[in-house]
């Protein structure tokens, strides 16, 4: 669905810090939302979590930088990082162009998925959340 110019794909889970989660088998893929990339604009640098490191829900797992500002990426789900998107190192603008596909950030082996999903939003809820932020 599209709300106020922002893409919000169905089937993903969303955090209040504007990260998305896609469940793929026993792993999750995470990234930042269209809203996040539009707010940052012109992303020039991405710091990815280390593969093998453990991340905790709503704790910092990396950084994205635009020309003007630094923003933290929060882990939307706790677990072990099993893969990161190395394309972002040389092409951080993928986050602006394709936040939900080529601009994915990390794959995580979750440790507490069922419980943590409850604190995330579905597409409908996230759409309402960002339209309130826009007011």
């Amino acid at each position: 669905m599209k709300i106020g110019g922002y893409e919000i794909p169905e089937g993903l889970y969303y955090s209040k810090e504007h990260e998305w989660v896609l469940i793929k088998g026993d792993r999750v893929i995470v990234g930042i939302t269209d809203y996040a990339q539009k707010a940052l604009h012109e992303i020039v640098y991405v710091e990815l979590p280390l593969v093998g490191s453990k991340v905790k829900q709503m704790r910092t797992m990396g950084t994205v930088e635009s020309v003007k500002a630094v923003s933290e990426i929060f882990a939307p789900i706790s677990g072990k990082v099993v893969e990161t998107n190395q394309n972002l190192v040389e092409n951080p603008e993928l986050l602006n162009g394709h936040p939900y596909t080529d601009g994915w950030i990390a794959k995580i082996q979750p440790t507490n998925l069922d419980r943590e999903l409850k604190s995330l939003m579905n597409a409908q809820e996230y759409a309402e959340y960002i339209s309130k932020l826009e007011e």
Binding site: H41, E42, V44, Y45, E47, T63, E65, V67, K68, V70, V89
Partner: protein, 378 residues
Amino acid sequence: MSKTPQKTYLYKFHVQKGRMEVFAGFEMPMWYKGIIPEHLAVRNNVGIFDVTHMGRMLVSGPEAEAFLNYITTNDVSALTPLSAHYSTMCNEHGGIKDDFVLSRLEEEKFLMVYNAGNRSKDYDWVVNQSRSFDVTTKDVSDNIAMFAVQGPKAEQTLQEISSQNLGEIKRFKCGWTELAGATSFVSRTGYTGEDGFEVFVWDTPLTSPEKAVEVWNEILKAGKEFGIEPCGLGARDTLRLEAGMCLYGNDIDEDITPLEAGLGFVVKLQKEDFIGKNSLVKQKTEGIKKKRVGVRMLEKGVPRSRYEVWKNKDKIGVVTSGTVSPILECGIAMAYVPTEHATEGEEVAVEIRDRFVKGKIVKFPFYDPTKYGYQRKT
């Protein structure tokens, strides 16, 4: 600062086309298309900035030259009518009260253009210092619109709507012309490192913005064939940083002297007397302890204001401005380091979050001045 933010003549345009932010008490566009395309438009073609938020005052009278020589560090006597220079005003300790461009309109009439954030501080200071001089000061910030038209195609753009031949106005010279029929003062100056003009649309009270808006629109129209872009404060900042120019409040303030900031070329110590002279003479004799330098990152990472600069195991300085350079495609910064480390080519590290990222000290501007900037050869 808690007041309602002020709006410029172009507010409607900015809100419609740009991403707005409050800067120095004004609602200003941060960018329209984006900082990078706007930055590149200025380096390669031409861009236009609304800089009406800046402070502008007229200083006139029989003692205008003597007075300005007393409160500023540059030599006002060397300024012929229709010329401009960059300068600073200092406090008694030699700390910079502000940096600005001074234009001599007539023998006894000057226009001073200073930082938006220092509007009232500067005006009050100048008025207070002027009491024993035969001069008149007038704040014209809300009566003259100000745009910057910058880039290698700036002259061609403005020429299309100018009644006067702008080619006759050389760098740091000024003149009067009509732009789209509106009486305007133009100076061949700017804050981007590029050739270009700063345009002052005369007698345009903020309450009736029509004339200023029309000049802005006509410049955009005239520049269309050259690829003009309206540019926001974001590109203004990356452009001035690449050019090695100071931003007041970041790179210079009342605790830093022009000598430490590398602005010695606007400090004329042979002048009779001026505020801060004794302190500056003393510092010059004793030698400065720290100096503003450029740092170009050798590894990935974006240096930002207040990040620490390290040499081996020692913290030696602090970044005052930093960004990623759209031309060089790497991180660049300004920092103050002890004079013994302020050597071109010296390797340092900037602490970016938990990492030490390698960089080296370079001279300003950051770009190759034979390829970019007003001295470019191509």
